[in-house]
Amino acid sequence: MERLVRYMRQGKIIGRIRFTAILFTLAMLGLVTTSHGALSVSASLDARRFSVDQAATLTITIYDADGTISELPSVDGLDFQQQGQSRQKQIVFGSLSSSASSVSTIFQVQASRPGTFTIPPIAVTIDGKQLQTEPITFEVTSPAAGVPSLPNSQGGAPTSPSLSTGEREQMAFLRISPVKEESYPGEFLPVEIKAYFRRGLRATLNTQPRLNGDGFVLSQSKQEPVQTEEMVDNVPYSVLTWPGSLSGIKEGKFSVSVAIEATLLLPDQRRRAAPMGGDPFFGNDPFADFFNQQRMQEKKIQIVSKEMALQVLAMPAEGKPAGFSGAIGKFELQVKAQPTDVGPGDPITLTMTVAGAGNFDRVEAPVLSQAEEWKSYPPSVKFTPGVSLGQGSKVFEQAIIARSGDKTTIPPLAFSFFDPEAGKYQTLHSDPIPLRMSKAEGAGKSDNVSAANGVGAEKATPQKSNGGQSGPPVAAASPLAPLHSQMGSLHRGVIPLITRTGFQILILTLFLLLVAVILLKIRARRLANNPVLCRQQEMVRLLDLRLQEIRMAQEQGNSRDFLAICRRAIQEQLGLLWQTGPGAITLADLHQRLVPDSELVALFATAESDAYAGHLLSSQEMAEYAGKLEYALRKLQ
């Protein structure tokens, strides 16, 4: 009974287990079926706020099926670029049959302008069924938003007027300031042209600032632009400043602007697609920036300032002085004379300084009142620019001579200009300068007095003719040295000797000679310091000498001498070669130090044996022997 009860209890437990297992299997089957049946698609953007010079990554993921993206929507101001696809498989409970998969398609999204954009639902076709993603809204900011603002107190950079609407969205902009709206023709309007580049931008200027528009000309300083840092609306900028000036060239109303062309070197900031889809893991990787440094892109831009409306007024005709040369601005006149203690006919140098601000190119020398009583010469001019453009001083130096000897003062000099602020002409007068003129001694030195001069035998006769005269002649009283009485040697031209071909050839020859001597000297010195070269030379010298003696002995038919000289020649050559005394060299040495079949060994042995044996060689034998010896010894060298 107990066994039965126990059995029944066991069966109950087993049944329960079976029931639970079936329930679990059914539940799992239901889950799997559910997951297989719910085909889905999603779209995500890795950043909901980014700047215009950056990009975001759009990922469209299709789960548990292969689908195709029908078409990407067209959004004004947005650009989509496909970057690639990635697949994912997820294994459930160790069985591939129960796995989940997804396919991600990655697009790069770039905006061409700041603003709020919405990517509308994207249609995806899966197994003939069309699904749609959720719309995505995001904000694209101007580049400024990405740059951290700096407190003014820390940066120390000066601040400039706030950014206008057009400037705020730009990475670089141009300003021209300040300009008077009304001016007169030729008036010098100092301006400052500033090109603002967002700090950190790498830019190369392709042109100098140029003026767009008629009626004005822009003059610029030859100096390089000054580079500074400025804060505009808490945004740091690198600023290039050119000083310049505008001058109206004709009357009327004109609209002008300034433009400059530059190339920006921008880092390629496009984010790389994450290898596994979704949010890029390496999106904020510092190394990503490092590697991106290798990828820069050039962007050519033209920066144009805002247009300015300028008016050029007509110069008033009323009150225009006779000596007005076109100078417009604010000027001061200072006149000095040196010397003031003079004799009749002595020249006096007037130094007239016109200083101030204005169009100095139109400033001419002040005019002497009572000019007819003075003889004046063309003045020399020197302009010294001031600290800022348009300022400076123009110094005129002019020689004047009193036409009569009774002058007590140099009369005032007048300089006229137009004051644009007052809107009227002004004439400056210098003070009369007191003069002490001594009485003429005998015949006056003045050029209107005919008198003998001290120039050799020259006679100061009145000038008869002055054809082609371009200025007053040198006063007849001038102490010019007399003419030369000899014509001297004649030349074909006034040209320097160094340009004449003959002289150039001479110099070249001398130079080559010097080089040759130096080279020979160096060679001789090298030879003297080289024992191998010395020994070789000595071997050649001695061999030539011995061969000469051999030939003589051969001609005389003197076999004994012939053989002795041959032995000596071999000993000398080998002695020099082995650096030993020639007399110490024996046949045994030759056997020991030369190769056994050496011809020299045989020749030396023959010479020794014949000499000791008293064997006399015939002429033919001697000739044959001499030939072999010379060949062997030359070969040795």
Partner: protein, 272 residues
């Protein structure tokens, strides 16, 4: 044989005749030049400076340049009020005879009277002007020859090393000075003289271009570049300093270079 001898004698006589004719013509030309030179001097002394300039100009165009001819012509121009041409003549005379005191004196007087101040001349220019360009060039040639000789002698003949080095060093030092002198003086040969009064300096090489100022007659300028009928020049008179000296385009007829050849003169390329 006789025929050949006769032919040889005839040829020799012909050659001698041609040489004699050439010499005779040369003597005649020389005589004519001397007479013209005297006539020009007389015209000058009589105060007829225009005539004097005409004769001197004709003499130069036929016979060639000499320091005295250029100097006398410059004196005539100066008396005739042609400052630019007078300065040009003196400058050319100075190039041919750098040590001539009369030329320097008259040029200085002319510049003083016409207000053509030369400004402060830098020290190295003064040092370079101790000798003329041709003198520096001859000195350099002599020193090159001397160097070659010293090297040869010290190679062939046993010589004291110290003495050899001293001689070589001295020669090289003097050669360096000569080359510097040549460089400085050559610069002065590249100068030109403004011939027309108040010559406008244009900002561009065309007649309608705006003027940036005027340059006075008789001032020394340096030619920078040419474009058609205009030349870009820089004021070399020195009174403005190197940094702010005037420059601008002027008409080719407004100036004349100091260096000139007879070929240029006959081709009419340059002003006398």
């Amino acid at each position: 044989m006789k025929g050949v001898l006769k032919l040889k004698i005839s040829a020799i006589v012909l050659v001698l005749l041609v040489i004699s004719c050439g010499l005779f013509e040369s003597c005649l030309a020389q005589e004519q030049s001397s007479q013209d030179f005297l006539a020009a001097g007389k015209a000058y002394e009589a105060g007829d400076w225009s005539k004097a300039t005409q004769i001197y100009e004709s003499l130069i165009s036929h016979a060639g340049f000499s320091a005295s001819l250029c100097y006398n012509l410059a004196n005539s121009y100066a008396r005739n009020g042609q400052t630019g041409k007078a300065v040009l003549g003196y400058e050319r005379a100075l190039r041919l005879a750098p040590g001539d005191g009369d030329i320097r004196h008259n040029l200085e007087i002319l510049r003083q009277e016409k207000g053509l101040s030369q400004g402060e001349i830098p020290f190295f220019h003064k040092a370079g002007a101790l000798l003329g360009l041709n003198q520096w060039a001859v000195l350099a040639a002599i020193l090159l020859a001397a160097l070659s000789l010293i090297q040869f002698v010290t190679w062939r003949i046993p010589f004291s090393t110290g003495l050899s080095y001293s001689l070589t060093g001295t020669c090289l030092l003097l050669l360096g000075l000569s080359v510097t002198g040549i460089a400085i003086q050559y610069h002065s040969w590249q100068q030109a003289v403004i011939l027309t009064p108040k010559t406008p300096l244009l900002i561009s090489p065309f007649a309608e271009a705006a003027s940036t100022g005027v340059i006075e007659e008789g001032l020394l300028v340096r030619v920078i570049k040419r474009h058609g009928d205009y030349t870009l020049i820089k004021d070399e008179s020195g009174h403005s300093g190197d940094n702010d000296s005037q420059s601008g385009w002027i008409s080719n007829t407004s100036f004349a270079p100091i260096a000139i050849t007879m070929a240029d003169l006959r081709a009419g390329n340059k002003n006398l």
